[in-house]
């Protein structure tokens, strides 16, 4: 009986803390998702293909920037990458786009900062951005060099 009462007490305290954390998250989360929606509405995949075709020389860097800001399901980045490859965009750029899409979150930064700290979120995203470029070059280099 005492055990059940202890569990009930622990759950009540935890529920109060979790509810407070949930309610604190809601305004930032809804705002970030609203921003993501607006970004999706402004940058349709077909528009991105045009941008890459226009600025091919800065391909990998531009791709990393787009991938970092983009939000949405990773499938979108795979399909978009396939579309870009078919249009003649380099594999390094496409890889940078796909990797930064899933590892860097500029739009999500406020939510990440709120839960994990500002310094952590900024440093993590900056390193992930640089890593996306490095991985893109290394992956293509490895695949081409070893004729995989």
């Amino acid at each position: 009986m005492e055990m059940i009462s202890l569990i009930g007490k622990k759950l009540t305290v935890s529920a109060r803390k979790t509810t407070r954390s949930f309610l604190n998250t809601v305004p930032v989360l809804v705002a970030v998702l609203l921003l993501s929606g607006l970004f999706n509405a402004l940058t349709l995949p077909s528009g991105l293909v045009d941008v890459f075709e226009r600025d091919a020389s800065f391909g990998p860097l531009l791709a990393s920037v787009v991938g970092s800001i983009a939000v949405g399901h990773p499938i979108t980045s795979y399909v978009l990458g396939g579309e870009l490859l078919a249009k003649g965009v380099g594999l390094v750029s496409v890889t940078a786009l796909v990797v930064s899409w899933v590892t860097v979150g500029v739009v999500q930064l406020p939510v990440e900062s709120a839960h994990l700290g500002r310094h952590f979120a900024i440093v993590r995203n900056l390193l992930a951005f640089i890593s996306a470029l490095a991985i893109a070059y290394l992956t293509v280099f490895t695949v081409v060099s070893f004729s995989l």
């Binding site: 569990i7 310094h119 992930a128 890593s131």
Partner: protein, 176 residues
């Protein structure tokens, strides 16, 4: 209470929300179609996030109630060593759904003693999504996918260590 005193009591997170609503208002006035597209995209994103948000908060509730900091320290704390990295990498790969709810859970685990390097590695390695690997192979080939996944795993560890070190130094610098 005066108007400015009331405004000062509004937390920053609500100001961010108000700013985005105003932005939508401005976009709506100048380009109704884009605002509508944005709202419908928001609803679709919210629909994806909500179920995971609920599941993760139930997990947080259970964690807060029953998981002792010493357990967290043992598996993902400072002394967790190789085991900690294995837990972070495997759970990162297996963590499905949108990222937003995971921040809340990781924040709770951080409070209980999870190493920041493992949190960064967990977030990075989420780039590897087992259910989507066949699609990646379909578009880019098996060799490319294998090499890419290998590099992502290596960079997850590298980024984890570097993020912890750099964020720690920045924090110290700001504190001094």
């Amino acid at each position: 209470m005066t108007g400015s005193a009331i405004l000062k009591r509004i937390p920053g997170r609500w100001w961010f929300f108000i700013a985005v609503v105003i932005l939508y208002g401005v976009v709506g006035l100048t380009d109704t179609e884009t605002a509508q597209l944005g709202l419908s995209s928001f609803l679709s994103l919210f629909g994806h996030v909500l179920p995971v948000l609920v599941v993760v908060h139930v997990l947080i509730l259970v964690f807060n109630a029953f998981v002792e900091p010493k357990w967290v320290a043992r598996y993902v704390g400072d002394a967790s060593g190789f085991k900690g990295w294995a837990v972070a990498l495997v759970s990162g790969v297996l963590s499905l759904g949108p990222i937003y709810p995971w921040y809340a859970l990781l924040g709770e685990l951080k409070e209980k003693g999870m190493r920041p390097s493992l949190i960064a590695a967990f977030l990075y390695v989420r780039a590897v999504k087992p259910p989507l690997l066949p699609l990646l192979v379909h578009y880019y080939g098996l060799a490319f996918t294998t090499v890419l996944v290998g590099y992502i795993l290596v960079f997850a560890i590298f980024n984890g260590l570097l993020t912890d070190w750099l964020a720690g130094r920045l924090k110290l610098k700001e504190g001094s």
